[in-house]
Symmetry: C2
Subunit: 653 residues, 2 copies
């Protein structure tokens, strides 16, 4: 096989890093033959229709090697000009330092934080099996693609990769292929200093097939392994021994990983690889070589389109469903369903309200799937009668993620990025800590993943300080692009679910273990605005703000104060960030600027509330760890009492 | 072997859960023979001197099984009365729902968040090897103990456990023994639904020895395995097949995991196990059985004490060092060293300042050890000339954690809890997300672990949004008990390090990639108070607050405003939480209550700052994701400019 193409990819990657004077030349040099074999010669995708639903998915889990991805996408015909490549890592470019989710440009998911790409790929592979099981018919394999992840040692050292690999093995995701760029180098030196494990054996232990490639620098061998992987009934790891910084004076050295080579080493590399020493000077023959490959892939996609047209005729009802699977539901449609909002009892934990709302929604939305990190019975996230997803039942809608929070979130990102499904996942709020970065990635990519975090405070009770969240709400609320709802009752819980499923953002639902009071006059419009008056009194002297379980305290305090002739307003704040985005008039109406006697109540860190109560108000919260005791006692010991709220208000007026 | 003891442990554990009407009966019933064999018959420890430095360490990684731990510690003679056991999971008791760090009570580390215990144990085993290498002399094995971790399926599914196991294998920690309570049940059902991996093979892949026990319910077999483990030159996994809920009608059922049995099932269990049906009614014979075991262990400890007395005579200098290893350095001693504070250049990144301070401190403090999650060269946390810790060099002081942030933090917790060492670890600030819960555990336990988080903002530059922290500072600052420093220059960086090493808390140092200005009049006293005036003007009309890299902006804006006749104060805020704990007078002095024209500047989420700027101030920050571009351009594009600050101040006055 002509080496010109591979070496051109190498030269281009290094030119990009040099031009940016920033980036990672080492991995692209080592991985070039792999990426070329996989994405130019082997996989199914088509730059003329980048969002083709049955395309193979590519996840560059080792996101720092982005230069090779952009280079190969350029030759594959995606919308990257040489000028785009020159703009690598600069303001406003299409070619940021780490790949940023944009399927129209061939980037299936944002990567960079190591290990997550493998879990993303597992999610994409799960989505493929679910959609295939639902939509394929004999002779019409409308969903039939593979998912490829490229990873290095860093990804494989991260715990999330093991979590994802273990689940993928259990689920026998045979169309998932992970390609391991085995270069034996990490930033601090040889992998021997910290990573001596037997990687093939590890994958076998997890139920994977392992295909070793003798020389990862040989495109032909890589191609043969990719073909062999297609015959596997297990997920496959292809181990490709490579040389970081291949062809350069820094070959095999940690120093080649993350800094530009500089002129001298670059020129030497170009000479070694028989390339022009002019930056970005691409030999026309390389374009000639890739053109027929690109056309072949395009033809394959067109064949699929023809099949889909026949399928459309043969199964019009299925295609209607297919279309609905590929759209989010509409807010106005869901709002019409009064059953969603109606509480069945005066007192109910919001996790239970959520469970009921979720099950009602799941009946309406056949593409709503999800699960828990082994806490389904506690999170109330099981879909009744909708089966467990497994290697034997790809139609099951309940996912069992195991005790793997981080992988769970990243798998959901992969499923959401794949398209065709609405996904949610759940655990205790305190364990949002275990998955935080993947939640951040959902928010960053604006993927509509719904996180159900129950057991939202010291209301956890006897399990004690390790299980009682304090600062987690603050962490989530300060995460850009994440909507965080802490609903006070069934109605607000239903609104939160509806917003989560119809919005273009990731959403976290923060839910109680203990019962909440369903008898307050909460309302939909207010909930969607993030905060609103639940109790308004003429000539109020103060305002009490509360979320979730603490709305009850606020309402009770208002009564007691009223009996004493002190009038206060009560504001329910289900979604603080949303409220802050309302127009001035609305905010002024709910929280008049001159009404400075403000008390907030929330069983969590006080930090988020000073934005609303300011320097003159009081924030009742908990800025220390909890304890192991009955929840009611904890609320009382830690000052979440009507008396304390009343006293706080009085101290202000 | 008499089964009375083991069954009594079982009965007691179930009685505790029944009395509390809350807790986890299933695991204690299955694990009782293992815990009895290990902690009553096999391991070296002594309730009459619980903090004996050479005791074996026990980590109940499956912390929800706490009832069995308290039961066994009761019989081993630790300070738990039957009344303490009855007070299980109640307010103020010694027996919280999950074990809480208290070596005086035989609890070596707080557990509950799954998987972390295994990493804690790895840390303890590392500490043992380091201290042994340093202090043991022929004939005087003063440090020579084992570390045991008990874990279940949940722990083994968590990514952190793989990370820790992989590193332990690489490091050949042969005195580490993990005992796997293999009961094939998780909360959602059989482990088959999510966890089919071959656990023994997985550990072998990671370089461990695996000892299978045929029947984990047979104390004799468990004992034999524990003895065999002592001959290993690799870390050892003992696989014990057990039955969750053993002896009860819920044996083998997920339902036995996390809820009380109720009267009927409990009485039936008691009958099956031949126990009194009166709760907490302990047969005297059981105490008779354990008494000689406890005395044997006490005798072993006394033998060690005798050896240590001889060692003291033979190696007085070593014992002096030993004593210093087991104490934290004193604040006043470190403050005397002017070199720590003196900047070597006018402009220096705080990560570089930190690297210099750290290296100076490491020369003074021979028990200061630490490392990075494969970012040492970027975090500037390498100790020059102090060697790499490895299986061949236990005296090396640089730890190579690999790309394993979560395990790194939990390993540091284990090392700190072990005692004898001062530990730090490091990664990029954005990846604090990967390790958050373990950082929380440091803070909760008040372990003096130092976290070095560099690349603290959009100052990261070209690596882009995935690598640019935004909300991480907020998450850390809202974590109770964690001190978060974002120093503005070399002096503040030195103060932060000194506070971290001399304080009784976990500390995070948030450091810049880019250069900071070392020429402002920062000061030590102010830094230790968390915030202070760096520039005070008579009749100031406004105050600008800033931390870290943004102090420069504040100082420059002050100048520009001054030239326009507008006088403002500038407050440096290296540690916001510490400032808020100062007395009213101090706070009033720095931030007079009537000076409400306040502007804060920090290249991170604005949330923490409203506590200081209130409703009438302006917080300049970044509440969205960053971008891939040159850092200077990013600061400018996102409004971190002198002009913007000047304009903000003017808009207020």
């Amino acid at each position: 096989m002509n080496k010109k193409l591979v070496n051109t990819l190498r030269g281009l990657s290094v030119d990009m890093v040099e031009e940016a004077n920033s980036g990672h030349p080492g991995a692209p040099l080592g991985m070039a033959p792999i990426v070329s074999a996989l994405w130019l010669r082997h996989a199914n995708h088509d730059a003329t229709c980048p969002t083709w639903k049955n395309r193979d998915r590519l996840v560059l889990s080792a996101g720092h090697a982005s230069a090779i991805l952009y280079s190969v996408l350029h030759f594959a015909g995606y919308d990257y000009t040489v000028d785009d490549l020159k703009a690598f890592r600069t303001w406003g470019s299409k070619t940021p330092g780490h790949p940023a989710y944009n399927p129209h440009l061939g980037v299936e998911i944002t990567t960079g934080p190591l290990g997550q790409g493998i879990a993303n790929a597992v999610g994409m592979a799960i989505a493929e099996t679910m959609l295939a099981a639902r939509f394929n018919r004999p002779g019409y394999p409308v969903v039939d693609h593979r998912t490829y992840a490229l990873c290095g040692d860093g990804c494989l050292m991260e715990g999330i990769s093991y979590e994802a690999v273990s689940l993928a093995g259990t689920l026998k995701l045979n169309k998932l292929v992970v390609i391991y760029d085995d270069n034996e180098i990490t930033i601090e030196g040889s992998t021997d200093i910290a990573f001596k494990e037997n990687v093939p054996l590890r994958f076998k232990a997890a139920g994977w097939r392992v295909i070793p490639v003798e020389d990862g620098n040989d495109e032909q061998q890589v191609l043969a392994a990719l073909k062999e992987a297609e015959t596997s009934d297990l997920p496959t790891l292809i181990v490709c021994p490579t040389t970081i910084g291949y062809g350069s004076k820094r070959a095999g050295m940690a120093k080649s990983h993350g800094e530009p080579f500089g002129k001298e080493i670059t020129l030497d590399l170009k000479q070694n690889l028989n390339l022009s020493n002019i930056p970005f000077d691409i030999d026309k023959s390389v374009y000639d070589e890739v053109r027929p490959l690109n056309l072949q892939r395009q033809a394959k996609r067109q064949t699929w389109e023809q099949m889909f047209e026949e399928y459309r005729k043969a199964f019009p009802e299925l295609v209607k469903e297919w279309d609905s699977f590929h759209k989010q539901p509409k807010l106005e449609d869901l709002l019409l369903d009064e059953e969603l909002f109606k509480a069945n009892s005066a007192f109910e934990a919001s996790r239970n309200s959520s469970g009921k709302v979720l099950n009602l929604l799941a009946k309406k939305l056949p593409n709503l799937v999800g699960g828990s990190a082994d806490l389904g019975p506690s999170n109330k996230t099981s879909l009744d009668g909708m089966g467990s997803y497994s290697s034997e039942n790809r139609l099951g809608r309940n996912l069992h993620f195991g005790v793997r929070e981080h992988a769970m979130a990243a798998i959901c990102n992969g499923m959401a990025a794949h398209g065709g499904l609405q996904v949610y996942c759940s655990t205790f709020l305190v364990f949002s800590d275990y998955m935080k970065n993947a939640v951040r990635m959902s928010a960053m990519m604006k993927l509509p993943v719904t996180y159900v975090f129950t057991h939202d405070s010291i209301g956890v009770g006897q399990d004690g300080e390790t299980h009682q969240p304090v600062e987690q709400l603050t962490a989530l609320r300060s995460t850009p692009g994440l909507k965080v709802y802490r609903p006070a009752d069934r109605l607000e819980t239903a609104c939160a679910w509806i917003d989560a499923l119809t919005g273009k953002q990731a959403t976290a639902l923060i839910l109680s273990r203990q019962n909440l009071n369903n008898e307050y006059p909460t309302n939909k419009n207010g909930t969607f605005k993030g905060a609103y008056l639940v109790k308004e009194n003429a000539q109020s002297q103060a305002v009490i703000l509360a979320s979730g379980s603490e709305l009850e305290l606020a309402m009770e305090a208002e009564k007691v104060l009223g009996d004493q002739g002190i009038h206060v307003n009560v504001v329910s704040v289900p979604c603080l960030e949303t409220f802050l985005k309302q127009d001035k008039d609305y905010i002024q109406n709910v929280l008049p600027d001159n009404l400075r006697n403000r008390v907030s109540i929330e069983a969590g860190a006080t930090m988020p509330w000073y934005r609303l109560v300011g320097l003159d108000g009081i924030s009742i919260g908990i800025d220390h760890y909890g304890s192991s005791a009955d929840a009611k006692q904890l609320f009382s010991e830690y000052g979440f009492t009507v008396e304390r709220v009343v006293q706080a208000v009085k101290s202000l007026i």
